[in-house]
Symmetry: C2
Subunit: 179 residues, 2 copies
């Protein structure tokens, strides 16, 4: 992996672990085993690195969700497959955590790619819900269950609330479909 790539991967990890405000250029360099000069050669600064990390996050997460949501099966089955994907819940959602960071929210440059990712997911879920004639607002409900599940799990320091939240939502959805 190139120095540049190591810097981006290091930033992705640190953003997830410590947020944007809590991540220092120095920490990024150390984890990437790169020097100060090297980092500033490849990137203009902290924000530039964060942008690259967020864009790579978006690519990865879009690819995963896209595949799950397009698999064969009934609409609700595909949604359940996506919701039940194994996640490192206690580490937080790579995108969701960022949205709580004051400096990311204050910067359209950094917030936009995150907003676009959620917007894409929402659109894809709406299409699938519409196949079954379900209320398309449920796209936001399902996304919220996932993001909120992470929050509850971290508060409790346990993955249990995440699992319960997801299973509860799937059960409600199945009942709504059985008409």
């Amino acid at each position: 992996m190139s120095t540049r790539d190591r810097l981006v991967e290091s930033t992705r990890e640190l953003l997830r672990e410590r947020g944007y405000v809590g991540t220092s250029p120095k920490a990024i360099q150390q984890r990437a085993d790169a020097g100060q000069g090297s980092m500033y050669h490849h990137f203009a600064g902290k924000q530039d690195l964060a942008l690259a990390a967020i864009e790579r996050n978006a690519e990865d997460l879009t690819a995963l969700a896209s595949e799950e949501l397009s698999s064969p099966g009934a609409p609700v089955e595909r949604i359940a497959t996506w919701l039940r994907r194994e996640r490192e819940v206690l580490r937080g959602c790579p995108m969701g955590v960022l949205v709580q960071d004051p400096e990311i929210i204050a910067s359209d440059t950094l917030r936009s790619p995150i907003a676009e990712h959620f917007e894409w997911l929402r659109g894809r879920l709406r299409e699938i819900l519409a196949e079954d004639g379900l209320d398309v607002r449920l796209a936001d409900t399902l996304l919220a269950v996932l993001q909120g599940g992470y929050v509850l799990a971290r508060a409790a320091n346990s993955t249990e609330p995440f699992g319960d939240a997801v299973e509860g939502a799937i059960a409600l959805l199945e009942r709504a479909t059985a008409d």
Copy 2:
């Protein structure tokens, strides 16, 4: 308001706006119009202030939810009242945002009061769901919808996803009750 109280209120605001990592003692003092010496007289340091702020958050939020969830009306109606309470969505949940902060998650002292608050809410919701014979796991689903709604709203810089998530959840719940 006493200097001590102003310091706590100042900390509550800053924790919500900027998180724990992003909040400096200096900023707390300036917003509270208190000097350095004054702050360190009343509190042992940043963590001590955060603890006081979190505890006051918990008191306020518990009082609000307690009242809404105990109002007259059917179980699902009471839950809907609580979910539909007007919130300053784009400012984030005073408790939920904190849970994404690396130093709060790393400190049991700071995380515990937050965990207890969610635990209390979960228990209260379970009691209410049980009244209608509903799956008690839905307590976590509903809490997650709320917390996730905040996340989606902040990502989109719009309150719309929050409203859709909540209304979608209420609609599902009403349908599940109509048996």
